[in-house]
Structure formats: structure tokens, C-alpha cells
Amino acid sequence: MHISEGILSPGVLIVGAGLTAAGVAVGLRKLETEEIPSIGILSAAFFVASLVHVPVGPASVHLILNGLLGLILGWKAFPAILVGLALQALLFQFGGITTLGVNTLNIALPAVICYYLFKWGIRTGTRRLVFNLTAFACGCCAVFLGSVMVGFSLYLTGEAFLPAAKLIVAAHVPVMVIEGILTAACALFLRRVKPELLEGAYVPKLLSQPQGGEG
């Protein structure tokens, strides 16, 4: 999921960095003081998740957790993922500093998309089965979209899209399943223990500041 330095063309890198900057700005604008600790903890979880490896075929892939981050944080997944990726690049040499923008976009944009796609199902009111399935789908879908976006980034730099994307998606199938289960387990856990964290992402916003106009 981390694209190394020197692979992508400068154009792709610049566009990626620009879009990431925009996403981070949106995330920070929606940020409220009470949410800072949960963003930090999820950022730390994301940072560590990349060390949990799933060996598949010729490559090795790792957990990403962007579905979970998107589900809980929405747009604020952008700053959380940016921080996590920056530290991974600095400390683990995963990805790279120049590709930070593109990598953040590839991981955080699917998180936000999944947030909008699946947030309807993640409420304390929904039935258990629906709740679980939505959370599972959210985890799967975020990884799937992320893989497609990595394929697309490579395509923009001249690699054939379909083979590259197929390979990446295929390699991430086990990760999708594991992330789906993890996301569902986490969401279920939070629903029982700290439901305000799940709803905190959007319910107070809809109630307290209707001018926010998200979704």
C-alpha cells in the first residue's frame, strides 16, 4: 500500500500532495477539542497496524485499518493517516517523504468514501446483524478502494492499469477479509462500550452545528 520513492512521476506526486493538503484542511476544520485524543489513538493504531503482516504470494501486505479510521473519524481520518504515514516513512522507511501525499490520499480518501457509504448502518439503533455487516463491508471496501487507488496511481505513471490493479486487489483480498472482521469487532465493541465515539463523528455535528452541511 505504500508506494516507494522514485516510482511515480512528479505530476502525480504534486496532485496527490495537493489533494491530501485539501483533505487535511477539511479534516482540521471539522476538528473539535474533545475529539483530539480519539484521533491520536486511532492514528497510533494505524501507525502500528502496518507492522501486522499478512504474507501473500510474491509480495507481503499488511493491515491498513483505514475502514475503521474512516468509520469513526470521517474527514478527520486525513490528518490521522497523514501523521501515521509520516512517522512510518521516517522511522520504518515505508513509502517515502515525497510520496507521502499520494500515499495519504490513497489510504485516507477511501476511508472518507466509506464513511459516507456506510455511516447509515453504524448507529446504536440499527439491528445487530445490519450493524455487523455494514461495519464488515466498510472495512473490506476501504481496503479495496485503497488498492484500486494504488493501481490508479501506478497507471498514471505509465503502468498498465488492469494488470497492476488486479494484482494489488488480489494481494489484498486476505487483508480485506481480516480488516472487515476487525472493523466489525471494533465497531461492535465501541457500540457496547463507548457508543458516543461512533456517533460522535456525526450526530453532535448534525445537532449542534447544522450549518456544517456534510453528507
Binding site: 499478512v54 476487525l182 457496547r192
Partner: protein, 226 residues
């Protein structure tokens, strides 16, 4: 995650604890998997007139069947090959004494490179040239010895060449045994190159994140007070 939820007084029923255990189990299972990082490395070294390369995902998993490209300093591609089952690929240096850049392109946007400075290759080129020269000289001296055993002048000539032959042979022997002796060190170097993230780095990263959270809270609170 679990620490986050721990202070909540609602953690009473058995289910959440079970979920926590599940996470712990998952973590243990996956942290034992040897492949630990998401990065590729390539390491190249010169042996005789051949350049050997070894490619790994860090954590030790071999990169199989991935293209390896060799470039000169101007960026012209000299040759291309694929890593074998052991993640290795070797090629012969063809005559030129330039720096070489070996680039590994693993799938899914992973790339690594290794530079071979010209000096290493120059040494190799010298050795191969002198060894061919030596063969020529050897043949010549043998012939000379066979044809004119009684000609003292040629004998006198062949004595200094014999000395220089000894030097060449010595050089070759030294090179050979050095290659053999250095092989473990080369292997050690490749291993140390692709070490996975260490615990200190992981904890350091988490510390950074918490520090950032602290800073963000500090500024948020200050703004609130004002």
C-alpha cells in the same frame, strides 16, 4: 484501542473482554509472522567479473521473479533480468568502467536501488585483463621454453616474467580467498540492511503521536481560555 475503552465503567459483561482477547490473539498470531515490514531492499556486490544481487522484502522474504534493471550513470539501461527463486540475480560486467545502478522493481509500487561505484568494477576489469594477459604470457613462455631450451637469453627474459606471473597468480589467489572469506560478511550486511522496524522505533512513533495529541490539546485549551 482497549486502553481507550478501559476506563469506561460499562465494561462489565463478558463480551467486550472476549473481543479484547480476540484482538490480543490476532496480534500475537500476526506479530509472530517473520515478514515484518513493507519495504524492499536490493543488495549488490562484485565477485570476479560478476555482479551478484540479492533482493528481499525486509523481514527476509525473498522477492521472486521481480525485474532487476541495470543502469549506467547517464541513466541508460544496460540490461534487465529477473530474480530467481532465491531472490538473486547475477550478471557479468561488460567491459565498461562506469558506476552502475541496480534497480529492483517489485510489484505494487515497491522499488529499491543499489549503487556500485566504478572503483569496484575497475578492479574487476583489471583482474580480468591481467588474467588473460597472464594466460598469453604463460603460453608464450612455455613455447619459448620448449623451442629454445638452450638459448640462455630467452631464459633470462623468462625469469622476470615468471616473477610477475607469480604476482598475478598471487593476486588471483588473494581475490579468490577474499571473496570466499568475505561472503559471510556480505551476507551479514544484507541481513543488517533489511532489518525490520525495532521496538524502540515503534514505541517512539507512538510517543510522537501522543506528543502531537498533547500539543493539539494544549493549543486548543489555550484558545478556549482566551
Amino acid at each position: 484501542m482497549c486502553q481507550n475503552c478501559y476506563p469506561s465503567h460499562r465494561v462489565v459483561r463478558g463480551r467486550p473482554r472476549f473481543v479484547c482477547l480476540l484482538f490480543a490473539a490476532l496480534w500475537l498470531v500476526f506479530s509472530n509472522v517473520p515478514a515484518l515490514a513493507h519495504k524492499v531492499t536490493i543488495f549488490a556486490w562484485v565477485e570476479g567479473d560478476t555482479v551478484h544481487t540479492q533482493s528481499k522484502f525486509s523481514g527476509g522474504k525473498k522477492v521472486k521473479g521481480a525485474p532487476v534493471l541495470v543502469f549506467d550513470p547517464e541513466g541508460n539501461q544496460l540490461l534487465e533480468g529477473k530474480t530467481d527463486e532465491k531472490g538473486e540475480f547475477s550478471f557479468k560486467v561488460q567491459g565498461k568502467k562506469t558506476d552502475l545502478k541496480v534497480v529492483l522493481k517489485a510489484s505494487m509500487g515497491h522499488m529499491a536501488e543499489w549503487k556500485i561505484p566504478a572503483e569496484e568494477i575497475t578492479a574487476v576489469a583489471d583482474v580480468s585483463r591481467s588474467s588473460t594477459a597472464e594466460v598469453g604470457v604463460k603460453a608464450a613462455t612455455e613455447e619459448a621454453a620448449r623451442l629454445s631450451t638452450d638459448v640462455k637469453a630467452s631464459r633470462e627474459l623468462s625469469v622476470p616474467t615468471a616473477v610477475s606471473l607469480g604476482r598475478q597468480e598471487l593476486q588471483d589467489l588473494i581475490d579468490e580467498s577474499l571473496d570466499r572469506k568475505l561472503a559471510p560478511i556480505v551476507n551479514m550486511l544484507t541481513d543488517s540492511l533489511d532489518r525490520g522496524p525495532r521496538v524502540t522505533e515503534v514505541i517512539g512513533g507512538i510517543g510522537y503521536i501522543f506528543g502531537l495529541v498533547g500539543m493539539a490539546l494544549y493549543f486548543a485549551n489555550r484558545r478556549k481560555k482566551e
